[in-house]
Symmetry: D2
Subunit: 352 residues, 4 copies
């Protein structure tokens, strides 16, 4: 914390501020300058309440310095967090890219299997599909709930992919924790702190999506909530932020990938489907996400997007996903990454 | 829904789009123009999935027309919703302004009573105070929980003010519903649809705050969630949105007040404390909120802001609140409103 | 400038940074803290280039402290700047509000006079009208140029109002300086530094509008350009900023008014017409602007908005402006302001 | 243009709106729907002024449909614009990527040559350097002006690179047009329409940077200004937009690349240096820009960034640029592009 005094602040005012700081239990470091004096504060454990100081005579402004996150920080842990899944080469945060694909929502067993078969064959190691859908309108399709979770558990058995799906409250989190391999917390719940704490007590990894207007610090602090409850297996996901730009549904902020990697040891994936909201932007932005250094991709794929119950316009056709995977593999090798194969099960081989 | 064709779209392409629309069960209305053809779609009950149409040959873009909200709309109900509280002149949405004041968080019985006494005397009819605090950091003060609710219930008894406090999950909502008069849903939970549905089943009115990056449509749709579950006593609250501007913590969007009033019958209040995050901006923006036509104000007041456990820098001193109320009354009368007195209880008179 | 070291920075790294700072000709002030060390820099005249320091081993980040503006700052001049106009009670920045009204663009002598007569009668002391229009499309009406300036000069003669109109380049500025009383620099040119410097050499006051995504600091720095060339008669104008919100054309940021007044001595007006882009929002936001403490209003008025060549949908009808002025006068008195009368000329009296 | 009527609008109100439209000289197409009637408007050449219609009884809202740009549109010209430079393989918009590199500002002959030698050797075909710098502060270094232009002309002679540099007003544009190969219009001047028109009359290609808060439509309309004056050699450049995110100076919006390519035939480059403002983000975002399909890169390189007179912290070191070029070439080949060699001149060979 730093207190910047006004240019014409008197020596007495500087002294008063220093005394106030000491009275609050901190150390004050006055630095007289050519134009004005600044006063550093040290010895604080958490946030110093700036209010009192800001209102004192002679004070121009108060600037926060220390970062509030701890457990997610590279200062605590230098090596990357790698989330592993027993019995498979797939990871979140390892040298291999994590490819997460599937429909926006699980609509039926047939639909889910049709999509799963295609994305598995193309190289996805994780299957995603919504069981509980946070929809802007109460009149829109809200997901099949536990039935969808059961379908996805079958898909894991059949195709060997790990399952990622969103929980939207304590009740659904209990079920997702039981059926799935990774619990997703969606953008709209990034600051649902009650849900974050519950996820922090879960025994499954968590994929935390960035809120629509979350700063990097808020994003990391949301992850801190989960870690602070004891769950260290957290992966982050950029999915576009809200800006004035109207040519895509959200503005995909790829610069957050190197920014996260500099400050934190947690993996960071990118979701170009929600990040753009337009099918024709998904492939180019997926390439870009791999090129920028992301640890993986979340891509929506639907075998019949025009009949999808939600987010059809942003879902790739399976053939487009095949082509995307070809490009992703090539770019991955440029940045020293690969796409690990998880091995075709016999059932899959037979079904061809 | 409107499909805009490209300038060079062939007649056959136009015909194909029309046929597709009819096949989807809607009516197509082709409108040939000088430069291009547009095709209107009617007969749809909910949203038409634009995906299929957008990808058809010759299509330039697809534009949504119908608004998705229903129950919150003035088209359903022309008269303003007025939320009344038995045994008091205070309302949310009536001709009188609702003045909601109190500390950011309830920290102790002493603090709460000290602030309550002052804001009551100045004219507030509602007392606000956080029992459950959604804090960016897991290491910050999270609220006193049920103890705070009990203190506020005492304040209602003592001072006659109605109590407004935030619920952050199902569990806290159960308690808030029992103790308080109005259940607040905070900005971070505006799209916590599970919580909104629970609030829709509550038997107490709900104050819904606008999310940090919520469009007007999303804001109204969040309210629609509550109404669609049967709770029609909903009031909205603007509390600032997230922009690039850094001279205030959020950018208070006062234009949303007349915008809400044009589209919806629900009351709309303004919270200049969170909307600006700076004490010295609260009074001018409170005046502006009343002048723009808001149905009330939420203002943070603390008798010792520099010792507040949260949001001290944006809390007014009681004397500043007195002065604010004087100005608010004058401006209210210019816009044909007033600040209803709820009557001093004897206990209050005695305590002087 | 403040250099924040990493938590694990070695003493040697701290020493290196201090030596580097001293070598750059500044003074270094190391402040060891519980978690990390921060190093203050003083003695710098302008900006210190943070680049070198940011890349040094052990450095976490570099934070700017000093504000770069000087002449516009209240630290240089405590009293408000008041721009006066000989022979009239109207000011920009005085205790009386400045009311600037007129059509978006001057379209014809008839139109301009019709509007001028009405706004003058309602109490405007300044007449605004576009002669040179910065239009998004090259195919839209671009203004009548010098002919419009001549019409406005006539209006000054006839009605006694001072003339404010926009210059868009050096050439038009030469003419505006000759014909008008105040030179307007529009939002799109707020960082057209070449034009700002030219305005700084003009012998007429300048009204500088805030750019669509200008921070407060950039806004003040743009004004600094004008003052630094010797023209101290500058007034600022908030006209809405660009955000994700789509219920108004721009988001009017009224909090910038008290923020400017705290940092700078320059007057600050508000333009609710461009700030909202919607006729039905202009009156409520005008009231709010006066209530928040603005030094004046810019309002678009057209006697036949549906035939306007530009921005018709945001122009008030003359009767609406009459009503607005009634409300403005009432709210002005609440905040200790008034609307000075500039006296009706005989010609006006005769023309009735 | 589409007029959406209210749900309860009467038949008479619909008829009145249709008659008004016809009276304005257009054709009205009423489309009665289940909930409400929408009325299409055709026959309009440019924009219909929505004002009148929006205010008529029974009207809910008016929605714009036609896109206002023409010459920049793919509807006018299906094939990509390729800007060629006689005597070299370098293009803007051809199958080969355009690599534009150099210091933010030309500071001296020595500095410019030192950087030029390195970027030329690494593979840049274009040299960039500021002669006229638009700086936020009037007290910052503003560029060497014509002297810088002369230095860059020498660099062209010596190294065979084409020169790109920014013009900030009519005067500097005259000089830039004379000395340089491509005239750059910066972000702050994207809507300086007077300058755009002047650029439209220049006989050199123009590189137009996106404004900090420009929508795609405004960006294309700014280019339309240049084309409408007869200069069809225009290339666009994304350089980051302004958002709430604070981990980079701007938020680089890579999705605008495929969006431009869908709507327009003009080349689109990306500037990751200004787009991020941080050296450690430039390389990853450059890779991403090539992967997303951009037609080229603008990268700031300085041999001594810590002594740069402007934007040092975002300039790459020459060794970093070498490495970047290696990665760019690899990713370019994945997306079917290459980096054309322009051939080493003898002088260069000798200087090794």
């Amino acid at each position: 914390m730093l207190v910047v005094m006004k240019a014409h602040a008197t020596e007495e005012q500087v002294r008063d501020v220093c005394q106030k700081i000491e009275k609050m239990g901190y150390r004050a470091h006055a630095m007289p300058g050519a134009q004005r004096t600044a006063i550093g504060i040290t010895g604080n454990k958490g946030e110093v309440e700036a209010g009192t100081l800001e209102e004192m005579p002679g004070v121009q402004e108060v600037i926060a310095v220390s970062k509030p996150y701890k457990l997610v920080s590279r200062e605590i842990r230098e090596d990357n967090t790698v989330i592993r899944f027993p019995g498979t080469a797939a990871t979140l945060g390892g040298p291999g890219l994590a490819i997460v694909a599937g429909p926006c929502a699980i609509e039926s067993r047939e639909q889910a299997f049709a999509v799963a078969e295609r994305v598995r064959r193309a190289g996805a190691q994780f299957f995603r599909g919504g069981a509980y859908k946070p929809r802007t309108s109460p009149y829109s399709f809200q997901g099949l709930g536990e039935e969808a979770l059961r379908i996805m558990a079958e898909i894991r058995e059949q195709f060997g992919m790990k399952i990622i799906t969103e929980a939207i409250d304590h009740e659904s989190l209990d079920l997702v924790e039981r059926y799935a391999d990774v619990i997703q917390i969606g953008a709209r719940n990034m600051q649902n702190f009650s849900l974050l704490k519950r996820a922090g007590r879960a025994r499954k990894p968590v994929l935390l999506k960035r809120g629509m207007s979350a700063t990097l610090e808020e994003f990391l602090m949301a992850a801190e909530y989960i870690l602070s409850e004891g769950n260290y297996n957290v992966a982050l996901c950029e999915r576009g932020v809200r800006t004035f730009a109207d040519h895509t549904r959200n503005t995909l902020d790829l610069s957050v990938v190197p920014a996260v990697q500099r400050l934190s040891h947690l993996p960071i994936l990118v979701d170009p489907s929600h990040g753009t909201g337009k099918r024709n932007k998904v492939t180019p932005l997926s390439r870009a996400a791999v090129a920028v250094g992301a640890d993986g991709l979340l891509v929506e794929v639907h075998h019949q997007p025009d009949q999808a119950l939600s987010d059809g316009p942003q879902s790739l056709f399976p053939d487009q996903f095949d082509e995307l995977m070809t490009q992703v593999r090539q770019i991955a090798s440029v940045v020293g990454r690969g796409v690990p194969e998880i091995g075709m099960r016999e059932t899959l081989a037979v079904s061809r």
